[in-house]
Symmetry: C2
Subunit: 117 residues, 2 copies
């Protein structure tokens, strides 16, 4: 990854939104956006993300989604990756930690892939 202490991406700051078909991606943007796609590039992470995205109220606590076939530390590790990529945000409320998707970040990825426009 050549990911030496990547700063956690700001949840509301998507670097680029123009469709890939409209113009060539800059080197810097390609690094940022690739990190996001990479975060969804693991089946376990994609399922975790899916569980949060489809959760009632738009949020889910770890205990609700950790049944994905790997150990609890591994779930925590993957959630951290998704957080660091800017795709999820987390908040502790009492005993539980709740995760939500960062809508604008995901929208930015979708916009990038919207090739016919």
């Amino acid at each position: 990854m050549s990911n030496l202490e990547l700063p956690v991406l700001e949840a509301e700051a998507v670097p680029c939104c123009a469709p890939l078909s409209s113009a060539e991606l800059s080197v810097g943007d390609s690094v940022t956006m690739a990190a996001m796609f990479k975060a969804l590039g693991d089946p376990v992470r994609l399922r975790l993300f899916s569980k949060v995205a489809s959760a009632e109220g738009g949020e889910a606590c770890v205990c609700d989604i950790q049944d994905v076939g790997v150990s609890q530390p591994t779930v925590s590790h993957h959630l951290k990756k998704l957080r660091e990529a800017g795709l999820l945000t987390s908040e502790r409320r009492g005993t539980w930690v709740y995760y939500r998707v960062a809508p604008s970040v995901v929208a930015g990825m979708a916009a990038l892939l919207d090739l016919d426009r």
Copy 2:
């Protein structure tokens, strides 16, 4: 990846298109879709993909896009990955090999990320 000889995905067969917000992804679909996102999860590959997607006429030969800062065999390696993920198709015409994006596959990814609907 536990990727023992994944078959090249059929360019026109996207397994799932419903937004992630609507329902939880199945295990099988998560594997398939994660492979696609993973293919875009490298800066070099994302730039190559971007170059093809934004090329005039919707296609580009390797020689036109291989200036991404890595050696030519590495470019070929990355293009193969993108092909195996179903995101690009290639065709040899004479001396050159031309790459195109597989629009429906990319559209499927975009649909998955379209969370507000």
